[in-house]
């Protein structure tokens, strides 16, 4: 019962959020196309969260935790889920330098193929720290857009980088809010306005 109440409140909060975002602002958001390749920068389990978010947003997505350039074939968007987990790196048999090199190669390959980069930081405040911040600093400037769960940007770290590099930044109250954001970012012009459903809730 409490869960459903919370779900209801989440949807209401989301509706309020979309009501509060001016139409012209939403129109200025960049557009992305799927299929998208979702990969990690830092091997945290947040990449799995992104996979479920994409599924619920109805996007055609491939999740590959340690994706390589070869996996960019037929991909229209590269989604990079940033956040370092020492446990995750250990399980993947990688150290941070190797992980950074892998992601660098992938991002460079995406650039050369004109595949836009969407950066996501979903782990909140707990997924910050020196190592995560290194990757955030390294890859945010290459992004066409950045999505961050608000508690991860309490100190304005993402805001500062995005303002300096003129990358649009979308802050979310909760991870689950990314479903509607992704629907909006990946909508095509001939599809109906996806947040109509929210507004008419």
């Amino acid at each position: 019962m409490k869960k459903s109440l919370l779900s209801l409140s989440t949807v209401l909060a989301l509706a309020m959020f979309f009501l509060s975002v001016p139409e012209e602002t939403r129109e200025e958001w960049p557009r992305f196309e799927h299929p998208l390749l979702i990969t990690s920068a830092g091997q945290s389990a947040d990449v799995q969260i992104a996979g479920v978010l994409a599924k619920r947003a109805g996007l055609a997505a491939t999740l590959s935790k340690a994706a390589t350039e070869a996996e960019l074939e037929n991909i229209r968007t590269l989604a990079l889920v940033i956040g370092v987990s020492m446990k995750g790196l250990g399980a993947a048999g990688l150290d941070l330098d190797q992980e950074t090199s892998r992601v660098n190669r992938l991002v460079d390959a995406a650039k050369s193929q004109n595949i836009p980069l969407l950066c996501l930081h979903l782990g909140g405040e707990a997924r910050r720290g020196n190592l995560s911040d290194q990757l955030i600093t390294a890859f945010l400037p290459s992004a066409r857009m950045v999505i961050v769960v608000k508690s991860g940007n309490k100190d304005g770290f993402f805001t500062r980088i995005c303002e300096e590099k003129t990358v649009p930044l979308l802050e979310l109250e909760r991870t689950v809010d990314a479903i509607e954001s992704l629907k909006t970012l990946f909508r095509s012009d001939n599809e109906p306005e996806l947040f109509i459903n929210i507004l008419s809730f």
Binding site: K2, A45, D46, Q48, I49, K87, G124
Partner: protein, 566 residues
């Protein structure tokens, strides 16, 4: 000598009735000692502390309160321990002046075999961690019931009331819970999909969300009405067997029905004027803590200074030698010979101390090797209780990794352990899986006595960091004069060896940069961890002063540790 201890005795002698009890600080990392005069509970979640304290205030003894706290932890900190796991309980019976151990560590199924984690000759780590094969026969409920029947005053059902309420009504999720939930998301999805009872509408819980577990509440109610045997020989047992076997595991109904905890004598050591009691192998943490303290007795650590380069270097080298012994000698003593007496002898410790050089690392750390994978585990939980009669329970238990194997028997709401991963995957190891064996554990519930009186009760989760962490806390108090919680919150470090070679030195980032530079100059590869990193455990302690007129509690802010006295 023993400045901190002397200070506390002085304090307690002068100001018994005038201790100002301050509220816990807003900054949870700021050292804070809970104060009591009759009894105290410290545990990894405030709701669990309340559960234990209620029992004490109603006249229950330390065993009653410890079991109530353990049940409550299953509801409030479900990712670290519960009825799907096992552990060790160290009990001090004040009237008899006797320490006893209840070993309710999980056992391998009867069909376990040494090469069960090899696939075409290669170690298959997913089988050890997130597969039905990873699940060992749980011992927690049998152990808690044994303790209650023999040393408690309450019925099992009476100790479960608060845990049922916590599971039913829920509680606000902490940062710690949320982070661990996110970290283990993949495992939870793997076994239960987006409908896992440990996910909120398919996603990890965010801080502030309400976590409820109606399935667990129903399971606990069932145990309360049908008795604990239902878990081992009834409807719940059936669900465990189905869940494990559906995921490729080996546990049978016979494995569950034949499980029994065992009562053992404690392991005893000394450090200077203190006596130290802990658990016997396969709980290796107590043995290694005694071993480390014996080695440290050979050094003037106080003159080196707290967390000085010389201190951290010597300690790290000692850790590496101890890890070599752990891999070579430790197994289930019911089946193999463990030379505990030799390993905790002062003579052996002085031999190790003599090998350690102040200005360089050793070329090798003989003998043996240790599985590197064990190093990443954080998990487990620890609680301490003292009652008004001076009885003590010091309990460490676990489901191994956070969220255990990730397997939840259908509609039961509890997690099954993955403690089979504590066996070595190498068939020729002394700690290889074999039928009904208990895997080696790093758990180390400790009670230190100052002459005949209990002085310090201590334990921690943290996998292989448990005994290095506990050793550091003991030294922080006895040698560096810190208060209990100051000693718990102080920056920690850890190192180990595998196959005779030194591995990295992990340090919390609060350790001074110039110290780190000095350590690197000596030859250590230093890896920085977070300032307060749960990688190094989540210790809970109780300090008893002036004949139990003052009881201090310390709870680790690296997790959600809390305490309360009365």
């Amino acid at each position: 000598m023993l400045s901190a201890v002397a200070f506390f005795f002085y304090l307690s002698g002068c100001q018994l009735d005038h201790i100002e009890i301050k509220k816990p600080p807003k900054d949870r990392h700021q050292p804070y000692n809970y104060v009591g005069h009759k009894g105290m509970v410290v545990a990894a979640h405030p709701l669990a502390v309340q559960a234990g304290l209620e029992v004490l205030k109603k006249g229950g003894n330390a065993v009653d309160a410890a079991i109530a706290t353990a049940f409550a932890l299953n509801a409030a900190e479900p990712f670290a321990s519960g009825i799907g796991g096992g552990g060790f309980m160290l009990i001090f019976l004040a009237k008899e002046k006797r320490v006893t151990v209840i070993n309710y560590r999980e056992k391998a199924p009867g069909r376990a075999y040494p090469s069960m984690f090899l696939d075409k000759g290669k170690v298959k780590n997913e089988w050890r961690n997130i597969h039905g094969l990873a699940v060992a026969v749980p011992g927690a409920l049998a152990g808690w019931n044994y303790a209650l029947e023999k040393y408690g005053t309450l019925k099992l059902a009476e100790t479960m009331e608060r845990s049922i309420q916590i599971a039913e009504q829920g509680f606000s999720v902490s940062e710690t819970f949320s982070q661990i939930n996110k970290d283990e998301y993949e495992k939870l999805l793997l076994h239960s999909g987006e409908s896992s009872p440990y996910l909120f509408d398919g996603f990890p819980y965010e801080p502030g969300d309400t976590f409820q577990n109606q399935d667990l509440a129903k399971t606990l109610r069932r145990i309360a009405s049908h008795g604990w045997q239902d878990f081992y020989n009834g409807g719940i047992a059936q669900r465990i067997v189905e869940a494990v076997q559906n995921k490729g595991g080996l546990i049978t109904k016979e494995d569950l029905s034949s499980y029994t905890p065992i009562e053992q004598l404690p392991l005893k050591g000394t450090y200077k004027g203190f006596s130290l009691y802990s658990i016997q192998p396969p709980g290796a943490g107590g043995l290694h803590t005694i071993q480390l303290l014996n080695i440290i007795e050979n050094w003037q650590v106080r003159s080196w200074g707290f967390n000085s380069p010389l201190y951290i270097h010597h300690m790290s080298e000692a850790f590496r030698f101890v890890f070599a012994d752990r891999a070579h000698y430790l197994g289930d003593p019911d089946f193999v010979s463990v030379p505990a007496k030799h390993l905790i002898s002062k003579n052996y410790a002085s031999q190790i101390a003599a090998k350690i050089s102040p200005d360089h690392l050793q070329d090798s750390y003989p003998p043996g090797s240790i599985d590197k994978e064990l190093i990443t585990k954080q998990n487990t939980t620890h609680l301490n209780v003292i009652d008004e009669w001076g009885n003590i329970v010091c309990l460490t238990q676990s489901i191994n990794d956070f969220f255990g194997s990730g397997i939840v028997p259908t509609d039961t709401g509890f997690l099954l352990n993955n403690h089979m991963a504590d066996f070595s995957p190498q068939p020729d190891s002394i700690n290889a899986p074999r039928p009904y064996r208990r895997p080696v554990s790093s758990m180390a519930p400790l009670i230190l006595f100052n002459q005949e009186s209990p002085f310090l009760i201590l334990g921690s989760p943290g996998g292989t960091r448990i005994f290095p962490t506990l050793t550091q806390i003991v030294i922080n108090i006895i040698e560096f004069g810190m208060s209990l919680d100051e000693a718990i919150e102080a920056p920690r470090f850890f190192s180990y060896s595998t196959q005779g070679k030194a591995r990295s030195l992990f340090v919390e980032s609060r350790i001074r940069p110039e110290t780190i530079l000095s350590l690197e100059e000596i030859g250590h590869t230093v890896e920085l961890r977070d300032a307060y990193d749960k990688f190094f455990g989540g210790a809970q302690g109780i300090m008893i002063l002036s004949g139990q007129k003052i009881i201090l509690g310390g709870a680790d802010s690296r997790r959600d540790g809390a305490g309360e006295g009365y």
